[in-house]
Protein backbone atom coordinates (compact mmCIF):
# COMPACT_ATOMS: atom_id res chain seq x y z
CA UNK A 1 0.00 0.00 0.00
CA UNK A 2 1.51 3.30 -1.08
CA UNK A 3 1.17 6.41 1.05
CA UNK A 4 2.91 8.55 -1.55
CA UNK A 5 1.07 11.30 -3.45
CA UNK A 6 0.05 10.64 -7.06
CA UNK A 7 0.65 14.16 -8.40
CA UNK A 8 4.21 15.33 -8.71
CA UNK A 9 5.36 18.37 -6.74
CA UNK A 10 5.54 20.53 -9.87
CA UNK A 11 1.88 19.67 -10.59
CA UNK A 12 0.88 20.66 -7.07
CA UNK A 13 2.70 23.95 -7.66
CA UNK A 14 0.81 24.41 -10.94
CA UNK A 15 -2.45 23.79 -9.06
CA UNK A 16 -1.60 26.46 -6.49
CA UNK A 17 -0.70 28.84 -9.31
CA UNK A 18 -4.01 28.17 -11.11
CA UNK A 19 -5.99 28.86 -7.94
CA UNK A 20 -4.09 32.13 -7.46
CA UNK A 21 -4.79 33.09 -11.10
CA UNK A 22 -8.49 32.34 -10.67
CA UNK A 23 -8.74 34.42 -7.49
CA UNK A 24 -6.89 37.33 -9.09
CA UNK A 25 -9.20 37.12 -12.13
CA UNK A 26 -12.31 37.55 -10.00
CA UNK A 27 -10.80 40.07 -7.61
CA UNK A 28 -10.03 42.28 -10.63
CA UNK A 29 -13.65 42.06 -11.75
CA UNK A 30 -15.20 42.71 -8.37
CA UNK A 31 -16.68 39.23 -8.01
CA UNK A 32 -16.95 38.23 -4.35
CA UNK A 33 -15.51 34.94 -3.13
CA UNK A 34 -17.99 33.05 -0.95
CA UNK A 35 -18.29 29.73 0.86
CA UNK A 36 -21.46 27.68 1.25
CA UNK A 37 -22.00 24.40 3.14
CA UNK A 38 -20.59 21.18 1.70
CA UNK A 39 -22.98 19.13 3.85
CA UNK A 40 -26.52 20.15 2.94
CA UNK A 41 -29.88 19.00 4.23
CA UNK A 42 -31.03 18.33 0.68
CA UNK A 43 -29.30 16.82 -2.29
CA UNK A 44 -29.67 17.23 -6.00
CA UNK A 45 -32.81 15.68 -7.57
CA UNK A 46 -31.24 15.14 -11.03
CA UNK A 47 -31.65 11.39 -11.68
CA UNK A 48 -28.21 11.24 -13.35
CA UNK A 49 -26.36 12.58 -10.28
CA UNK A 50 -25.99 10.60 -7.07
CA UNK A 51 -24.74 12.25 -3.90
CA UNK A 52 -22.90 10.64 -1.01
CA UNK A 53 -25.09 10.64 2.05
CA UNK A 54 -23.94 11.09 5.64
CA UNK A 55 -26.58 9.05 7.49
CA UNK A 56 -26.09 10.02 11.11
CA UNK A 57 -24.16 12.10 13.60
CA UNK A 58 -24.68 13.68 16.96
CA UNK A 59 -25.96 16.96 15.46
CA UNK A 60 -27.93 15.38 12.59
CA UNK A 61 -31.67 14.90 12.86
CA UNK A 62 -31.93 13.90 9.20
CA UNK A 63 -29.27 12.54 6.84
CA UNK A 64 -27.10 15.17 5.15
CA UNK A 65 -25.91 15.23 1.57
CA UNK A 66 -22.39 15.99 0.44
CA UNK A 67 -23.02 18.66 -2.18
CA UNK A 68 -22.69 17.68 -5.83
CA UNK A 69 -22.24 21.39 -6.60
CA UNK A 70 -22.58 24.56 -4.49
CA UNK A 71 -25.42 25.80 -6.71
CA UNK A 72 -28.30 25.89 -4.23
CA UNK A 73 -26.38 27.71 -1.51
CA UNK A 74 -24.97 30.23 -3.97
CA UNK A 75 -28.42 30.96 -5.40
CA UNK A 76 -29.69 31.72 -1.90
CA UNK A 77 -26.87 34.27 -1.59
CA UNK A 78 -27.82 35.73 -4.98
CA UNK A 79 -31.43 36.08 -3.89
CA UNK A 80 -30.32 37.82 -0.69
CA UNK A 81 -27.69 40.21 -2.07
CA UNK A 82 -27.78 40.20 -5.89
CA UNK A 83 -23.97 40.46 -5.98
CA UNK A 84 -21.74 38.62 -8.45
CA UNK A 85 -20.14 35.74 -6.52
CA UNK A 86 -17.75 32.87 -7.04
CA UNK A 87 -16.64 29.85 -5.07
CA UNK A 88 -13.86 27.30 -5.29
CA UNK A 89 -14.82 24.18 -3.37
CA UNK A 90 -14.88 20.42 -3.30
CA UNK A 91 -17.91 18.67 -4.78
CA UNK A 92 -18.79 14.99 -4.50
CA UNK A 93 -20.56 12.62 -6.88
CA UNK A 94 -21.05 8.95 -6.19
CA UNK A 95 -20.24 6.51 -8.99
CA UNK A 96 -18.29 8.99 -11.11
CA UNK A 97 -14.86 7.48 -11.39
CA UNK A 98 -12.64 7.20 -14.43
CA UNK A 99 -9.84 8.85 -16.36
CA UNK A 100 -11.63 12.22 -16.19
CA UNK A 101 -13.68 11.72 -13.05
CA UNK A 102 -12.79 11.53 -9.39
CA UNK A 103 -15.77 11.14 -7.03
CA UNK A 104 -14.38 14.04 -4.97
CA UNK A 105 -13.30 16.94 -7.16
CA UNK A 106 -12.68 20.67 -7.18
CA UNK A 107 -15.23 22.99 -8.75
CA UNK A 108 -15.09 26.66 -9.59
CA UNK A 109 -18.61 28.03 -9.75
CA UNK A 110 -19.65 31.62 -10.39
CA UNK A 111 -22.77 33.72 -10.95
CA UNK A 112 -23.20 36.96 -12.85
CA UNK A 113 -26.39 38.97 -12.30
CA UNK A 114 -27.44 40.74 -15.51
CA UNK A 115 -25.46 38.40 -17.81
CA UNK A 116 -27.15 36.17 -20.35
CA UNK A 117 -25.46 32.88 -21.19
CA UNK A 118 -23.59 34.35 -24.15
CA UNK A 119 -22.13 37.15 -22.01
CA UNK A 120 -21.06 34.53 -19.48
CA UNK A 121 -19.47 32.42 -22.24
CA UNK A 122 -17.37 35.50 -23.08
CA UNK A 123 -16.16 35.64 -19.49
CA UNK A 124 -15.50 31.87 -19.31
CA UNK A 125 -13.44 32.22 -22.50
CA UNK A 126 -11.38 35.00 -20.92
CA UNK A 127 -10.77 32.97 -17.77
CA UNK A 128 -9.72 29.89 -19.74
CA UNK A 129 -7.37 31.97 -21.89
CA UNK A 130 -5.92 33.56 -18.77
CA UNK A 131 -5.26 30.09 -17.32
CA UNK A 132 -4.25 28.13 -20.42
CA UNK A 133 -2.98 30.81 -22.77
CA UNK A 134 -4.53 32.55 -25.78
CA UNK A 135 -6.37 30.28 -28.18
CA UNK A 136 -9.34 30.55 -30.52
CA UNK A 137 -12.65 29.93 -28.73
CA UNK A 138 -15.38 28.59 -31.00
CA UNK A 139 -19.12 28.60 -30.46
CA UNK A 140 -21.63 26.18 -31.96
CA UNK A 141 -25.22 25.41 -31.03
CA UNK A 142 -26.11 21.88 -29.95
CA UNK A 143 -28.49 21.68 -32.89
CA UNK A 144 -25.87 22.83 -35.42
CA UNK A 145 -23.34 20.37 -33.99
CA UNK A 146 -25.65 17.36 -34.47
CA UNK A 147 -26.80 18.45 -37.91
CA UNK A 148 -23.28 19.19 -39.11
CA UNK A 149 -21.63 16.05 -37.75
CA UNK A 150 -24.42 13.48 -37.86
CA UNK A 151 -27.03 14.95 -40.21
CA UNK A 152 -29.68 14.48 -37.56
CA UNK A 153 -31.77 17.17 -35.84
CA UNK A 154 -31.55 16.53 -32.08
CA UNK A 155 -34.75 18.51 -31.49
CA UNK A 156 -37.05 16.78 -33.94
CA UNK A 157 -35.61 13.31 -34.60
CA UNK A 158 -37.61 10.47 -33.04
CA UNK A 159 -36.16 8.19 -30.40
CA UNK A 160 -35.90 5.38 -32.97
CA UNK A 161 -34.10 7.64 -35.46
CA UNK A 162 -31.54 8.53 -32.80
CA UNK A 163 -31.12 4.90 -31.68
CA UNK A 164 -30.49 3.95 -35.31
CA UNK A 165 -27.79 6.60 -35.75
CA UNK A 166 -26.23 5.54 -32.44
CA UNK A 167 -26.15 1.91 -33.56
CA UNK A 168 -23.76 2.92 -36.36
CA UNK A 169 -21.22 4.03 -33.78
CA UNK A 170 -21.63 1.81 -30.73
CA UNK A 171 -22.61 -1.74 -29.85
CA UNK A 172 -25.18 -1.20 -27.11
CA UNK A 173 -26.63 -4.71 -26.87
CA UNK A 174 -30.17 -4.53 -25.57
CA UNK A 175 -29.86 -1.03 -24.14
CA UNK A 176 -33.17 0.83 -24.00
CA UNK A 177 -33.93 4.41 -23.15
CA UNK A 178 -35.54 7.70 -24.11
CA UNK A 179 -34.41 10.28 -26.68
CA UNK A 180 -32.02 11.85 -24.19
CA UNK A 181 -30.23 8.56 -23.61
CA UNK A 182 -29.42 8.28 -27.32
CA UNK A 183 -28.47 11.95 -27.55
CA UNK A 184 -26.10 11.47 -24.59
CA UNK A 185 -24.67 8.35 -26.21
CA UNK A 186 -23.98 10.19 -29.48
CA UNK A 187 -22.52 13.11 -27.55
CA UNK A 188 -20.10 11.00 -25.49
CA UNK A 189 -19.16 8.41 -28.11
CA UNK A 190 -19.06 10.40 -31.33
CA UNK A 191 -19.25 14.16 -30.88
CA UNK A 192 -17.02 14.74 -27.85
CA UNK A 193 -14.07 12.96 -29.54
CA UNK A 194 -14.68 15.03 -32.70
CA UNK A 195 -14.82 18.23 -30.66
CA UNK A 196 -11.20 17.56 -29.72
CA UNK A 197 -10.29 18.69 -33.25
CA UNK A 198 -11.97 22.06 -32.68
CA UNK A 199 -9.73 23.05 -29.77
CA UNK A 200 -11.88 25.12 -27.42
CA UNK A 201 -15.58 25.11 -28.30
CA UNK A 202 -18.75 26.16 -26.53
CA UNK A 203 -21.84 24.10 -27.31
CA UNK A 204 -24.99 26.03 -26.39
CA UNK A 205 -28.79 25.89 -26.41
CA UNK A 206 -29.69 22.33 -25.46
CA UNK A 207 -32.99 20.49 -25.94
CA UNK A 208 -35.46 21.52 -23.22
CA UNK A 209 -35.34 17.96 -21.84
CA UNK A 210 -31.67 18.61 -21.02
CA UNK A 211 -32.15 22.14 -19.70
CA UNK A 212 -31.37 21.10 -16.09
CA UNK A 213 -31.62 24.43 -14.20
CA UNK A 214 -31.47 26.72 -17.22
CA UNK A 215 -34.20 28.94 -18.58
CA UNK A 216 -36.27 27.42 -21.38
CA UNK A 217 -37.26 29.61 -24.33
CA UNK A 218 -38.98 29.02 -27.66
CA UNK A 219 -36.55 29.42 -30.56
CA UNK A 220 -36.88 28.45 -34.23
CA UNK A 221 -39.97 26.43 -33.44
CA UNK A 222 -38.39 24.32 -30.71
CA UNK A 223 -38.02 24.60 -26.93
CA UNK A 224 -34.43 25.39 -26.06
CA UNK A 225 -32.69 25.27 -22.68
CA UNK A 226 -30.28 28.21 -22.43
CA UNK A 227 -27.48 26.03 -21.24
CA UNK A 228 -23.89 25.73 -22.49
CA UNK A 229 -20.96 23.39 -22.15
CA UNK A 230 -17.34 24.22 -22.85
CA UNK A 231 -15.13 21.55 -24.40
CA UNK A 232 -11.40 22.10 -24.57
CA UNK A 233 -9.43 19.56 -26.60
CA UNK A 234 -12.40 17.20 -26.23
CA UNK A 235 -12.52 17.53 -22.44
CA UNK A 236 -15.82 18.71 -20.98
CA UNK A 237 -14.63 21.59 -18.82
CA UNK A 238 -17.62 23.76 -17.83
CA UNK A 239 -21.40 23.73 -17.74
CA UNK A 240 -23.39 26.97 -17.53
CA UNK A 241 -26.93 28.27 -17.55
CA UNK A 242 -28.90 31.36 -18.13
CA UNK A 243 -30.55 30.59 -14.81
CA UNK A 244 -34.13 29.63 -14.29
CA UNK A 245 -35.53 32.17 -11.79
CA UNK A 246 -39.17 31.06 -11.56
CA UNK A 247 -39.77 29.27 -8.23
CA UNK A 248 -42.94 27.50 -9.37
CA UNK A 249 -41.26 26.07 -12.44
CA UNK A 250 -38.23 25.12 -10.35
CA UNK A 251 -40.51 23.15 -8.01
CA UNK A 252 -42.15 21.46 -10.99
CA UNK A 253 -38.72 20.41 -12.34
CA UNK A 254 -37.66 19.02 -8.95
CA UNK A 255 -40.90 17.05 -8.78
CA UNK A 256 -40.47 15.77 -12.35
CA UNK A 257 -36.94 14.61 -11.43
CA UNK A 258 -38.31 12.75 -8.43
CA UNK A 259 -41.06 11.19 -10.56
CA UNK A 260 -38.37 9.92 -12.93
CA UNK A 261 -36.38 8.62 -9.95
CA UNK A 262 -39.46 6.70 -8.73
CA UNK A 263 -40.02 5.28 -12.19
CA UNK A 264 -36.40 4.09 -12.43
CA UNK A 265 -36.38 2.63 -8.93
CA UNK A 266 -33.98 5.29 -7.63
CA UNK A 267 -34.34 6.89 -4.23
CA UNK A 268 -36.27 10.17 -4.25
CA UNK A 269 -34.54 13.26 -2.91
CA UNK A 270 -35.89 15.82 -0.46
CA UNK A 271 -36.64 19.06 -2.30
CA UNK A 272 -34.65 22.10 -1.16
CA UNK A 273 -37.41 24.31 0.21
CA UNK A 274 -34.94 26.99 1.26
CA UNK A 275 -33.80 27.38 -2.33
CA UNK A 276 -37.44 27.57 -3.49
CA UNK A 277 -38.20 30.18 -0.81
CA UNK A 278 -35.19 32.21 -1.94
CA UNK A 279 -36.37 32.00 -5.56
CA UNK A 280 -39.88 33.03 -4.52
CA UNK A 281 -38.33 36.04 -2.79
CA UNK A 282 -36.57 36.81 -6.07
CA UNK A 283 -33.51 35.47 -7.82
CA UNK A 284 -32.03 38.20 -10.05
CA UNK A 285 -31.80 37.48 -13.77
CA UNK A 286 -28.36 35.93 -13.97
CA UNK A 287 -26.14 33.34 -15.54
CA UNK A 288 -23.96 30.88 -13.70
CA UNK A 289 -21.33 28.32 -14.58
CA UNK A 290 -19.41 25.48 -12.94
CA UNK A 291 -15.92 24.68 -14.17
CA UNK A 292 -13.87 21.62 -13.25
CA UNK A 293 -10.61 22.83 -11.73
CA UNK A 294 -8.97 19.38 -11.82
CA UNK A 295 -9.71 19.15 -15.53
CA UNK A 296 -8.39 22.68 -16.09
CA UNK A 297 -5.16 21.51 -14.49
CA UNK A 298 -5.20 18.35 -16.63
CA UNK A 299 -5.37 20.56 -19.72
CA UNK A 300 -2.65 22.87 -18.41
CA UNK A 301 -0.17 20.00 -18.08
CA UNK A 302 -1.63 17.75 -20.84
CA UNK A 303 -2.47 14.93 -18.40
CA UNK A 304 -4.44 11.92 -19.64
CA UNK A 305 -5.71 10.84 -16.25
CA UNK A 306 -7.18 12.96 -13.47
CA UNK A 307 -5.09 10.96 -10.99
CA UNK A 308 -2.01 12.79 -12.29
CA UNK A 309 -3.30 16.11 -10.97
CA UNK A 310 -4.56 14.96 -7.57
CA UNK A 311 -2.38 14.63 -4.49
CA UNK A 312 -4.40 11.61 -3.43
CA UNK A 313 -6.87 10.20 -5.97
CA UNK A 314 -9.94 8.28 -4.87
CA UNK A 315 -8.30 4.88 -4.50
CA UNK A 316 -5.57 6.19 -2.25
CA UNK A 317 -7.50 8.90 -0.40
Amino acid sequence: MSWQPAAELQVLRRRAQLLATIRAFFAERGVLEVETPLLGSSGVTDPAIEPFIVPDGEVLDTPRFLQTSPEYGMKRLLAAHGEPIYQVCKAFRDGESGARHNPEFTLLEWYRPGFDHHALMDEVARLVQTCLGERPMHRLSYRALFIRELAVDPFTATRDDLALVASEYADTGSMAGDRDLWLDLLMTHVLEPRLAERGACFIYDYPASQAALSRIVQEDGVRVGQRFELYVDGVELANGYCELTDAAEQRARFEADNALRRERGQQERPIDDRLLAAMAHGLPDCSGVALGVDRLLMLAIAADDVAEVLAFPWRSS
Binding site: G98, A99, A170, G173, M175, T188, E192
Partner: protein, 190 residues
Protein backbone atom coordinates in the same frame (compact mmCIF):
# COMPACT_ATOMS: atom_id res chain seq x y z
CA UNK B 1 -21.82 -16.82 -9.78
CA UNK B 2 -21.65 -13.32 -8.39
CA UNK B 3 -22.71 -10.46 -10.57
CA UNK B 4 -20.57 -7.39 -11.16
CA UNK B 5 -21.60 -3.78 -11.72
CA UNK B 6 -19.89 -1.59 -14.33
CA UNK B 7 -17.89 0.18 -11.65
CA UNK B 8 -16.40 -3.19 -10.60
CA UNK B 9 -15.31 -4.05 -14.15
CA UNK B 10 -11.54 -4.43 -14.11
CA UNK B 11 -9.11 -5.75 -16.62
CA UNK B 12 -9.02 -9.55 -16.27
CA UNK B 13 -12.52 -9.93 -14.78
CA UNK B 14 -14.40 -12.83 -16.43
CA UNK B 15 -18.06 -12.18 -17.20
CA UNK B 16 -20.89 -13.67 -19.25
CA UNK B 17 -22.09 -11.50 -22.15
CA UNK B 18 -24.73 -12.69 -24.64
CA UNK B 19 -24.18 -16.23 -23.31
CA UNK B 20 -20.43 -16.14 -24.01
CA UNK B 21 -17.61 -16.15 -21.45
CA UNK B 22 -15.58 -12.96 -21.83
CA UNK B 23 -12.55 -11.39 -20.25
CA UNK B 24 -12.64 -7.63 -19.66
CA UNK B 25 -9.70 -5.79 -21.20
CA UNK B 26 -10.58 -2.17 -20.61
CA UNK B 27 -13.37 -0.12 -19.03
CA UNK B 28 -13.82 3.57 -19.78
CA UNK B 29 -16.33 5.71 -17.86
CA UNK B 30 -17.85 8.51 -19.95
CA UNK B 31 -20.51 11.05 -19.04
CA UNK B 32 -21.77 14.14 -20.79
CA UNK B 33 -21.79 17.28 -18.60
CA UNK B 34 -25.32 16.44 -17.52
CA UNK B 35 -27.18 13.24 -18.23
CA UNK B 36 -26.61 9.55 -18.69
CA UNK B 37 -23.23 8.04 -17.80
CA UNK B 38 -21.90 5.11 -19.81
CA UNK B 39 -19.14 2.56 -19.56
CA UNK B 40 -17.38 1.70 -22.80
CA UNK B 41 -16.03 -1.76 -22.17
CA UNK B 42 -13.54 -3.74 -24.26
CA UNK B 43 -13.91 -7.48 -23.91
CA UNK B 44 -12.33 -10.59 -25.35
CA UNK B 45 -14.69 -13.42 -26.16
CA UNK B 46 -12.88 -16.40 -24.64
CA UNK B 47 -14.53 -18.84 -27.05
CA UNK B 48 -13.59 -17.08 -30.25
CA UNK B 49 -10.75 -14.81 -29.13
CA UNK B 50 -12.58 -11.90 -30.77
CA UNK B 51 -12.21 -8.50 -29.11
CA UNK B 52 -15.05 -6.02 -29.22
CA UNK B 53 -16.42 -2.97 -27.48
CA UNK B 54 -19.82 -2.90 -25.82
CA UNK B 55 -21.40 0.15 -24.19
CA UNK B 56 -23.37 -0.18 -20.95
CA UNK B 57 -25.34 2.31 -18.92
CA UNK B 58 -23.29 2.93 -15.80
CA UNK B 59 -24.55 0.83 -12.93
CA UNK B 60 -25.68 -2.09 -15.10
CA UNK B 61 -24.28 -5.46 -14.17
CA UNK B 62 -23.15 -8.74 -15.69
CA UNK B 63 -22.98 -12.26 -14.30
CA UNK B 64 -19.50 -13.50 -13.52
CA UNK B 65 -18.26 -16.36 -15.71
CA UNK B 66 -17.02 -19.60 -14.16
CA UNK B 67 -13.62 -19.25 -15.76
CA UNK B 68 -10.35 -20.14 -14.01
CA UNK B 69 -6.75 -20.36 -15.13
CA UNK B 70 -4.86 -23.48 -13.93
CA UNK B 71 -1.31 -24.66 -14.44
CA UNK B 72 -1.35 -28.21 -15.85
CA UNK B 73 1.06 -30.73 -17.27
CA UNK B 74 0.64 -31.64 -20.93
CA UNK B 75 0.41 -35.43 -21.29
CA UNK B 76 -0.22 -36.46 -24.91
CA UNK B 77 -2.53 -36.10 -27.87
CA UNK B 78 -4.62 -38.88 -29.34
CA UNK B 79 -5.09 -36.94 -32.57
CA UNK B 80 -8.48 -35.58 -31.59
CA UNK B 81 -7.89 -34.30 -28.07
CA UNK B 82 -4.94 -32.97 -26.14
CA UNK B 83 -4.75 -34.35 -22.62
CA UNK B 84 -3.63 -32.35 -19.58
CA UNK B 85 -3.22 -33.20 -15.91
CA UNK B 86 -3.52 -31.13 -12.77
CA UNK B 87 -0.19 -32.04 -11.07
CA UNK B 88 -1.51 -31.89 -7.48
CA UNK B 89 -4.75 -33.80 -7.87
CA UNK B 90 -3.83 -35.89 -10.96
CA UNK B 91 -7.19 -34.83 -12.35
CA UNK B 92 -7.13 -35.05 -16.15
CA UNK B 93 -8.74 -32.76 -18.72
CA UNK B 94 -9.05 -33.11 -22.49
CA UNK B 95 -8.94 -30.06 -24.73
CA UNK B 96 -10.25 -30.04 -28.28
CA UNK B 97 -8.64 -28.40 -31.30
CA UNK B 98 -10.54 -25.13 -30.90
CA UNK B 99 -9.33 -24.79 -27.30
CA UNK B 100 -5.73 -25.66 -28.17
CA UNK B 101 -5.64 -23.55 -31.34
CA UNK B 102 -2.15 -22.63 -32.53
CA UNK B 103 -0.67 -23.67 -29.18
CA UNK B 104 -0.47 -27.27 -30.35
CA UNK B 105 2.80 -26.55 -32.18
CA UNK B 106 4.52 -25.75 -28.88
CA UNK B 107 3.17 -28.55 -26.70
CA UNK B 108 5.83 -30.91 -25.42
CA UNK B 109 4.99 -33.75 -23.10
CA UNK B 110 5.48 -32.91 -19.42
CA UNK B 111 5.68 -29.15 -20.03
CA UNK B 112 3.57 -26.94 -17.77
CA UNK B 113 0.83 -25.00 -19.57
CA UNK B 114 -1.82 -22.49 -18.52
CA UNK B 115 -5.20 -24.08 -19.16
CA UNK B 116 -8.27 -21.86 -18.92
CA UNK B 117 -11.32 -23.81 -17.75
CA UNK B 118 -14.87 -22.67 -18.41
CA UNK B 119 -17.47 -24.58 -16.40
CA UNK B 120 -14.76 -27.21 -15.84
CA UNK B 121 -13.87 -27.67 -19.53
CA UNK B 122 -10.70 -26.38 -21.23
CA UNK B 123 -11.48 -23.23 -23.17
CA UNK B 124 -7.96 -22.24 -24.13
CA UNK B 125 -4.40 -23.42 -23.63
CA UNK B 126 -1.34 -21.21 -23.31
CA UNK B 127 2.05 -22.92 -23.68
CA UNK B 128 5.00 -21.84 -21.51
CA UNK B 129 6.61 -18.63 -22.80
CA UNK B 130 9.77 -20.60 -23.59
CA UNK B 131 10.02 -24.22 -24.72
CA UNK B 132 12.97 -26.41 -25.64
CA UNK B 133 12.41 -28.56 -28.70
CA UNK B 134 14.51 -30.82 -30.87
CA UNK B 135 15.23 -30.04 -34.52
CA UNK B 136 13.94 -32.99 -36.55
CA UNK B 137 14.54 -31.60 -40.02
CA UNK B 138 16.81 -28.90 -41.42
CA UNK B 139 19.53 -28.40 -44.03
CA UNK B 140 22.92 -29.70 -42.92
CA UNK B 141 24.68 -27.39 -40.49
CA UNK B 142 27.55 -25.19 -41.66
CA UNK B 143 30.06 -26.03 -38.95
CA UNK B 144 31.74 -23.06 -37.41
CA UNK B 145 29.56 -20.55 -39.22
CA UNK B 146 28.50 -18.57 -36.17
CA UNK B 147 29.23 -15.17 -37.66
CA UNK B 148 27.47 -14.88 -41.01
CA UNK B 149 24.10 -14.10 -39.41
CA UNK B 150 22.12 -16.03 -42.02
CA UNK B 151 19.34 -18.39 -41.09
CA UNK B 152 17.34 -21.32 -42.46
CA UNK B 153 14.05 -23.03 -41.70
CA UNK B 154 14.03 -25.88 -39.19
CA UNK B 155 11.21 -28.24 -38.34
CA UNK B 156 10.88 -29.04 -34.65
CA UNK B 157 9.67 -32.22 -32.93
CA UNK B 158 6.21 -30.71 -32.39
CA UNK B 159 5.81 -29.83 -36.07
CA UNK B 160 6.51 -26.11 -35.67
CA UNK B 161 8.78 -24.55 -38.28
CA UNK B 162 11.04 -21.72 -37.13
CA UNK B 163 14.09 -19.92 -38.42
CA UNK B 164 17.42 -20.96 -36.89
CA UNK B 165 21.05 -19.94 -37.52
CA UNK B 166 22.93 -21.80 -40.26
CA UNK B 167 25.30 -23.66 -37.91
CA UNK B 168 22.57 -25.74 -36.24
CA UNK B 169 21.98 -29.36 -37.23
CA UNK B 170 19.28 -31.95 -36.97
CA UNK B 171 19.09 -33.52 -33.48
CA UNK B 172 20.06 -30.34 -31.64
CA UNK B 173 17.69 -28.89 -29.05
CA UNK B 174 16.75 -25.22 -29.30
CA UNK B 175 14.99 -22.76 -27.06
CA UNK B 176 12.00 -20.90 -28.61
CA UNK B 177 9.85 -17.97 -27.48
CA UNK B 178 6.34 -19.29 -28.07
CA UNK B 179 4.83 -15.78 -28.14
CA UNK B 180 6.85 -14.77 -31.19
CA UNK B 181 7.97 -18.14 -32.56
CA UNK B 182 11.56 -16.85 -32.48
CA UNK B 183 14.72 -18.87 -31.90
CA UNK B 184 16.36 -17.87 -28.60
CA UNK B 185 19.46 -20.06 -28.52
CA UNK B 186 20.60 -23.59 -27.99
CA UNK B 187 18.97 -25.36 -25.09
CA UNK B 188 20.84 -25.17 -21.84
CA UNK B 189 22.53 -21.92 -22.90
CA UNK B 190 21.13 -18.46 -22.52
Amino acid sequence: MASYSTNEFRSGLKVMLDGEPCSILDNEFVKPGKGQAFNRVKLRNLNTGRVWERTFKSGESLEGADVVDRTMEYLYTDGEFWHFMEPDTFEQFQADASAVGDSHQWLKEQDRCEVTLYNGTPLSVAPPNFVELEIVETDPGLKGDTASGGNKPAKLSTGAVIKVPLFLSQGEVVRVDTRTGEYQGRAGKS
